[in-house]
Amino acid sequence: MTLLEFRDYLVPGLALGALYSVIAIGYTLVYGVLKLINFAHSEVFMLGGFGALIVLTEVAPGHPSGLVSVLLVLLGLVVSGLVGAGTAFGLEKVAYRPLRKRNAPALIFLISAIGASFFLYNLAGKLFGRDPKAMPALFDNGVLFHVLGAPVDVVKLLLIVAALAMIVGLDLLVRRTKLGSAIRAVAQDPEAAGLMGVDIDRIVSRTFVIGGVLGGIAGFLFGLNSQVSFTMGFIPGITAFAAAVLGGIGNLRGAMLGGMLLGLVETYNVPLFGEEWRYVAAFAVLVLVLMFRPTGILGAKLGRTA
């Protein structure tokens, strides 16, 4: 790979990595409070993309520009966030809460999660058609400026800025607010947190909603960057999960780091091995990490049972 190629793939890699970070946070948050892999998180992501797609196709004029573009993007962010939050909230209520009340074994949770994921994505395929769809044009996607000679266009910049804003916001929320400390308390020791007066059900539900907002917005951004389809959640979902494990599951900064790394690995995989092997990278990294360092880069205390 020449230096020139290296430079050209850097910005797309960072943009993809930022996206994966945001999705990975959703996995890691839920894993933190429930010790459960929320398989259906990829469907939250997908439905967020569809929500924005539907509203924007109804609203967007032919060639928006200027202030209208900004408003449309904001509308997309809000709608996808709301749809994601609603999906995650419903998911927790229907597929997980009854099992939690019954103190069901982990296997039952996993199967329920997979069932919910299957149901949602096939339902979306049925309702909205099974072919991929492009987002309507929200702005003129020109090159804004060059970094070290590599062009940065509007979509990539929007992706990176929005993802960074969400990551910083979430970090503040978890560290500084009352809700954040309650989430950390439940993650650390649910029983003790309950004794201290934390309403665990409410905190779990809100954790899902926070993860859902991030996942839904990520779906919209992903749709802007490529396309929206009912299967679009699968690969980013697995990759983001791999990212969460890579960084150390249950660890928020780990998820961000892992997402960035996997985004770059996946993007550089294309010039090195070819487009058709693009998605193998995430799985290979996942298996390697689990073999040699199952607690992830930044470490997680939850990695092993025995």
Binding site: A95, I111, I114, L120, Q188, V245, T305
Partner: protein, 475 residues
């Protein structure tokens, strides 16, 4: 700082005085009244009366919540059974559903159901007693079977005879379905049952081993772009496929089975995707997305004993029934041996099993490899039967399909798995004209969730599993 394991968090919450849970007061009230069977307190008031005592508004009471939930289910069912979406108009399906009459029929049905359940004491009692009367003979079957081994044997022999003889009456296309879907998937479900039902490991890449078995058969028959050192009789490819899958299972399982169970799920999912991508993209090895043609049928050529399996599905059906019978006998022996008991110990409490000196990784690996090799056998039979395989025969969806079959029948119960897999594998073809084929996975996903909420032990639960569920629910 922002890790979720921050030790200062609990104390911080204590200072912060978060709103105290109202649920905790409710639960103390209910525990107090459950204890009333021994004390002098009156019987527990109904949830409705409790809500009234607490001064809840009408919309906060459980009765209205149930109405809302049932109506939501009605709307969801209307959406699920609505038109197929169109590529051009995103909202086509939803619009037709919400402007059509079917929606109101579903809602009316939901409300009627709710009204009967809440207010109709007479019809409710009639339905309950009717159901009990109808289920009474069914409820007697299980204890009778449990107590009489002779009856069990008779039932098995009758079932086997029916499975062998009945297909003679069916037409050819039905028998094709019976082989390609029912037979093969019953075999797969049996294998997955070892992994998930007995050892409690969630394997989401089970069909990847099926693919490996099929491709290994194709390889040894010399039909792949890479040629084998010598060609094997197709029958010999069964044990070879078994060993190949066994090795693949060990290779994949050895690193990942040391970890928490949920990591295994995602690694096997990734493994399936990698196998699929290799089958699709490595054209010089696997033939790429075009697939492999001309895999020969099975044949026996031992002196006087000569037979060629041909295009007639019946031959393959009988072969599959034979294989399934042998495997069922083997697995029964296995699960009742020390190995089976060890699996149960690991499934119920892995830490406790390890503390008792069980080499958990070894036994988990054993279950994983046995499952994988069963899948390999199914792959070999499938490749030889259809003679033509391509990557689209082994999509990720099918791994979840097999999982759904096993869970529907009852994890860990051989009769349950046989029945569940046979029923669910045949259903899409039986309902071909009623339900769109593409919606199959949607209904299966919903089925998984509903089963996990209401009946996680499955249609015909295993005896041990029934006991576990009871004790766990009681505690």
């Amino acid at each position: 700082m922002s890790t979720l394991n921050d030790t200062s968090a609990v104390t911080a919450v204590q200072v912060a005085h978060l709103p105290v849970s109202t649920a905790s007061t409710a639960s103390t009230a209910s525990t107090a009244s459950t204890a009333s069977t021994v004390s002098f307190r009156p019987a527990r008031p109904s949830a409705e009366a409790l809500a009234a005592l607490r001064g809840h508004r009408w919309y906060e009471r459980p009765r209205w919540r149930r109405l809302c939930a049932l109506t939501a289910v009605g709307v969801l069912l209307a959406v699920m059974t609505g038109e197929q979406g169109s590529g051009a108009d995103l909202l086509f399906s939803l619009r037709t559903t919400f402007t059509g009459t079917a929606l109101w029929a579903w809602i009316a049905a939901a409300v009627a159901l709710w009204a009967i359940a809440e207010f109709g004491a007479v019809p409710r009692r009639a339905v309950a007693s009717g159901a009990r009367a109808a289920a009474a003979p069914l409820a007697r079957i299980r204890p009778a079977l449990d107590s009489s081994p002779r009856l069990r044997v008779a039932l098995v022999v009758a079932g086997l005879a029916a499975a062998v003889l009945l297909p003679l009456l069916f037409d050819r296309s039905t028998n094709q379905v019976l082989v390609d879907w029912v037979g093969i998937y019953v075999l797969l479900a049996l294998g997955l049952n070892v992994v998930i039902g007995w050892a409690g490991l969630l394997d989401l890449g089970f069909v990847a081993f099926f693919a490996i078995g099929s491709y290994s058969t194709a390889f040894w028959s010399g039909q792949l772009p890479v040629k084998p050192p010598f060609e094997l009789n197709p029958f010999l490819s069964i044990p070879v496929a078994m060993v190949t899958c066994l090795l693949a299972g060990i290779l994949l399982g050895a690193p990942t089975l040391r970890l928490r169970g949920d990591y295994l799920a995602i690694v096997t999912l990734g493994f399936h995707e990698i196998i699929y991508l290799i089958a699709k993209n490595a054209e010089s090895v696997t033939g790429g997305s075009l697939g492999v043609f001309g895999i020969p049928h099975f044949s026996v050529d031992l002196g006087p004993l000569q037979y060629r399996w041909g295009l007639d599905p019946l031959d393959y059906l009988w072969l599959l029934i034979g294989l399934i019978t042998v495997l069922v006998l083997l697995f029964r022996k296995l699960v009742r041996s020390k190995i089976g008991r060890t699996w149960e110990a690991i499934r119920e409490d892995e830490v406790a099993a390890a503390a008792h000196g069980v080499d958990t990784v070894k036994y988990k690996l054993m279950a994983f490899a046995i499952g994988a090799s069963t899948s390999g056998v199914a792959g070999a039979v499938y490749a030889s039967k259809v003679g033509f395989i391509n990557p689209e025969n082994f999509p990720l969806l099918y791994s979840v399909l097999v999982l759904a079959y096993v869970i529907f029948g009852g994890m860990g119960s051989i009769p349950g798995v046989l029945l569940g897999a046979a029923l669910l594998a045949y259903l899409p073809h039986g309902l071909k004209d009623v339900v769109d084929q593409k919606d199959r996975f949607m209904y299966l996903g919903a089925l998984l969730v509903v089963m996990m909420i209401y009946r996680p032990q499955g249609l015909l639960p295993a005896r041990r599993r029934r006991r576990t569920v009871r004790t766990r629910e009681a505690s």
